[in-house]
Each structure stands twice: as structure tokens, then as C-alpha cells.
Symmetry: C2
Subunit: 338 residues, 2 copies
């Protein structure tokens, strides 16, 4: 059954009413972090438990000639995989009955989990670069696959780390959700970028890269990427990773740049982990929803450590309170990397 997809009475705010995981009031009564983590050897993402998930839509396997990309079927599950993409058992968005049918008011789309490694506890901060490269290539493969579906308008690639940041399973994984609308945050970013481009003749993010690479919020860089704490960070220790040259989407990344991004991720998430004792966090890619990679948008990754709580003021006004200045956060991240 498809979930309902509803728009607020007056705001441009959408919600999926995810009745597939409909729960009783007692199910909402606070589960402890311990309880949530007590999955033990029953982890459905660990090697050997492949039957506990739906068939994989993508697996990477190591062959003598290099990486081979395969799919599972109901009758056969690949073993000895490097990464594995599977449909989420409790999807927020699901495919419509007919392939190209957009059902009004329904949450049509896709919702997958990308299992990042056979190792249950693998943290991007400690993963080997080739493994992280597979993960990023997996993101790109699924992004391309979903983008070519007619009713998909945006593909959100994100990671929740730690139960306080919303991860319900602790095995290293990311999620990919394909939605039938361009999300509000992206719509706003796109229209502001367009407006800036019309006024100033250049990409606003290229300008941000230029400024932040020299200032007090700069954290780390390599030839391809810059990591920095944004001027108006809404979370303590929030940072962004952005390509130095203009690229609107991830989908055309060269292999060299994928490896370089793996380095950036490992370095910065490693610094965060060391500085704050492996804090919970969320990260998400912001990319153009269009295939036109020349447009005045510039993809980037936003990393949100989960160290504080959004309360009544933030939720009702949209104004945030950040108790750590981005300049000070950047300074400390920088120090720990050096």
C-alpha cells in the first residue's frame, strides 16, 4: 500500500503519512538507545543474513578483472559483496503500481538502504579509501538509476549515524530516497542560486568557495574539495564539503574525484569523531534535481552533528540557535586534523 503524501493547509511543507509502519501509542513510548541497539547477531545487514532483506537492487563484487555490479533475485542472494543496496523494509516512498504512474496524494518514489561495508561497525572515519570509493560510486549508480524514472523529481542521499541521529540499525549504512517533488529546501536553494546568477553573472557557491577557503571558517582542503564551517551554521560543529570547481550534480564525477571525495569524507568525519567522542550526526548531499550540470547550482555535502535539540522556538519560528560559533568550531576541527 502506498503512503499518503500531504501538503500543509498553507505552507509549502510536505509530509509522508507512513502508515506502513503504523504503530500503537505504546510503540512510541520511549525506546531506550540500549534497546534499539540490542540487535546483536541478528543484524540484517551483516554478511550471512542476506535473506533477511529484500533482494539487493545493486551489489558490488570483487572479481579478478575489477568490480562487478550485480543484482539479487528472490531465488538467489549474492554473498561476499563489497557494498549492497536493498529496498528499505519500511519505505517512506514506494514505486507506483504502474511504472510511470504518478498517483495524486500518494508517496510514490523509492527508498533504499546502501549497506556500506560487510563490517558491522565500519565508520567512514576508519574505512579504507577503496571501500569509501565503492560507497560513493554506489550513491552515483543509484542516483542515475532513479533519475531516469519519469516520476522522480529528486534523489536525496543521506546518512544517519547513531541512534540519537535517527539511525535505527547500527550497521554502517546510508539511505537513498527518490521523491516525486523537488523538496522545499532544494527549491529555495535553486531559486536563490538562479537569482544570484542573473544578478552577478556567477555561481553563488563558487563565490562562497572563494571566500571561505581563505577565511576563519576554513577547515581543510585538497586540490578538488574544500571543507568549511558555514557562516550561518545552524548546528554546533556543522561543516560542508564542496567541490572547488563548478559542478551542479554528483552524477558526472570522474573516478579521480570520487577518490578525492573519499579522502575528504574520511578526514573530516574522522576529525569530528575524534573531537567529540564519536557524536551522532546526519549528512546529506545537496544536488541539482536536473540533469543539466551547467546550471547555476553547485552540489555539496552538509554534515550536521547532533549535539543539541531543536525545541519549541526552532520548530515554530524556523529561527535556529547555535551555541558554538562556526569560527571556533572550524579552528578546533583544523587543529585536530593537523
Amino acid at each position: 500500500m502506498l503512503n499518503d503524501f500531504r501538503k500543509d493547509y498553507i505552507l509549502d511543507r510536505w509530509v509522508v503519512i507512513a502508515t506502513e509502519r503504523q504503530r500503537r501509542p505504546v510503540d512510541f513510548i520511549r525506546e531506550t538507545a540500549t534497546k534499539r541497539r540490542a540487535e546483536g547477531d541478528l543484524c540484517p545487514f551483516c554478511p550471512g543474513n542476506e535473506e533477511k532483506t529484500p533482494p539487493a537492487t545493486l551489489v558490488y563484487l570483487q572479481s579478478e578483472e575489477g568490480i562487478v555490479k550485480e543484482k539479487d533475485t528472490n531465488g538467489h542472494r549474492h554473498r561476499k559483496w563489497l557494498i549492497r543496496c536493498v529496498p528499505n523494509l519500511y519505505p517512506a516512498f514506494s514505486p507506483p503500481k504502474k511504472d510511470d504512474l504518478w498517483e495524486e496524494g500518494k508517496a510514490v518514489g523509492y527508498h533504499e538502504v546502501l549497506i556500506e561495508s560487510p563490517n558491522h561497525n565500519e565508520h567512514p572515519a576508519e574505512a579504507r579509501i577503496p571501500q569509501l570509493t565503492h560507497v560513493i560510486n554506489g550513491y552515483i549508480d543509484r542516483l542515475k538509476a532513479f533519475s531516469s524514472t519519469p516520476f522522480v523529481k529528486y534523489v536525496s542521499i543521506f546518512r544517519n549515524h547513531g541512534s540519537e541521529a535517527g539511525a535505527s540499525l547500527s550497521h554502517a549504512h546510508s539511505q537513498i530516497i527518490a521523491t516525486p517533488i523537488v523538496p522545499t529546501v532544494l527549491t529555495e536553494e535553486l531559486s536563490s542560486s538562479m537569482e544570484f546568477h542573473q544578478k552577478h553573472g556567477e555561481c553563488v557557491f563558487c563565490e562562497i568557495v572563494g571566500k571561505e577557503s581563505k577565511g576563519p571558517r576554513m577547515i581543510w582542503e585538497n586540490p578538488e574539495y574544500l571543507a568549511f564551517a558555514p557562516w550561518a551554521a545552524i548546528h554546533p560543529f556543522e561543516f560542508w564539503i564542496i567541490p572547488k570547481t563548478h559542478q551542479a550534480s554528483l552524477s558526472n564525477l570522474q573516478q579521480k574525484n570520487v577518490e578525492s571525495l573519499a579522502h575528504a569524507l574520511k578526514t573530516c568525519l574522522g576529525a569530528l569523531r575524534k573531537l567529540l567522542n564519536d557524536p551522532p550526526y546526519n549528512f546529506a548531499f545537496h544536488i541539482t534535481p536536473h540533469e543539466n550540470t551547467h546550471e547555476p547550482y553547485h552540489w555539496h555535502l552538509e554534515v550536521y552533528p547532533k549535539l543539541t535539540i531543536w525545541a519549541g522556538f526552532e520548530k515554530s519560528t524556523g529561527i535556529h540557535i547555535n551555541t558554538m560559533s562556526p569560527e571556533r568550531a572550524a579552528e578546533q576541527m583544523k587543529e585536530i586534523i593537523e
Copy 2:
């Protein structure tokens, strides 16, 4: 020192960089709920500890003639109060040095705590109606006081209940923040309400009241107020309390309506408490920022139980996932009230 008030590079999103409570990384490493609650007899909001807060800007005292409204001074703190408003010790927004001076880039405004009762553990679900009436009257008094300040553009009145919902002290209290901008959420609500009014000649919220009072999301009503689960609720068991007749702001509420609102609050928060074992929640009033109470806006109270976590998807897209349908939530709230 005033906090910085920064706007995002491109989004209409604002953040207070609250350096007054600047903390070291170690301070962010997860405090347990237990630690946070270990305030015991040191509660600065309990009677006898009045010296632990700045002087009250408003106290309600019981006299033989009725309620008397007073202020503390540095030399004298009133005792035996019914409610007490004090400046927040760690304010997000602070008054500028000169009364009427808006300082560019600074978080000028006010940030107060309204201590709702001398009883440490008073929950609105169990408070007596006269006490809740004092609390609402206190909101209105501070709203009026702040609204007449030249640089104040909006007054946010909200309550965080439980440490998981961001309450750092457990003594029953609400907060009032006066900001130098109209917050994004309100700006959007106001312009959509205006648009609807121009098109249809009536208030969109009056229309909502008409529809929701008959449908499957209706929870409770009395002659003055309606409580219902909104169509596109973004939280499980979210509900709104709204006046049945058109009123843009709280500031002109008649005493009869204040008492009726106290009843509505007590009933609905009581149902939430019973149904979900005293869950953490946030509530906030949405009111017009203007004194023109005839405008096409309609004040209401939004109550957000904190039962799930906003993770990477919600934070990066603005699309929400609600695992409890508002119809089912309303049905269960209704049942428990009956």
C-alpha cells in the same frame, strides 16, 4: 555582549550564534538525561531561590482585592508569587544598549522565562484552572510589553516539556522570545493567509475550523475552542488548539476566553499525557506580528509531541515523515478524553 544574528548565504534562514553560552567540545559530549535532571533542591525556579535568578520583570501576587502585578528589583525579590517572569540567564536575544537601537547583525530582543507555578512538578494537565489562567494572562502581559518596543517584530511564546524536548530545567516553565525579525514560518503563514483571503474573501483558518470540526481529525471542542489533529501533521499525535471565531492575536482575549483556553490546554495536554505516558513535547503560539487584529490571520497553538527524531532526510529536504496518521491519532486522543 550581544549574540550574532546571521542569515544563511542564500536561504531565508536565520541563526543566533549564542556565544554567551559558548562551550568547549567536551561540554557537547552527551549529557545524560539523568545528569541534566540532577538539579534537586537547587532548582532556581523554586520558591525560596528567587535570588538565583535576575530580578523578575513580572510577578503575580494574591491580595485580598485580587491579583496584584509587581516587579522585583535588585534589592528586593517578591516571595509567595503565583507566577514569575525572569530574564533567561543564557539569553538567545538581548536588549540593545540603547533602548531603540537596532544593531545590524546582532540578536537584539528579549528572552524571558515564565515560571508557571511555585510547584516544581506542576504539569498543565494537572494544574488548577485558575493557575493556568494566570499563566496565560502572564503570556499576554509580556506579549503586550514586548510588542510595544520599537525594534521587536515578533513575540514567540512556547513551552518545552521534558529534557528530550529541550527543557534544561524541569520546573514547570514556558519561554518568551521577542525577535527583531518576523520569523520565516510566520512570514510564510501570513503571506499564504493573505493570498487565500484575496482569492476567496475569507480567512483560511476560519475555513479550516469549519472543516476540521466535523471531520475525522476532530479531537475536542468547547464553545470557544477547537482541538484537532491537522491534515498534514508532521509529528505523531500533533494537535492544534484554535479559537472558533476570528482573532489574529492573543492580545485582546477576554477573561472568559482565557479561562476557556485554560480548559482546552488542560484537557488536551492531559489526554496526551495519559495516552503516551507523559511524553516530551513542545508547544508554541502562532500569532500575527501586527497589532491589527482584523487582518486575515488567525492565532492558534501548535503542540508537537517529541516521539521521533528528525534525521538526515527531514533536515536536508524539509519533507517530513510521520509514522502515525492524524486521523488515528485524533481517534485515540478523543477516546481517552471520553
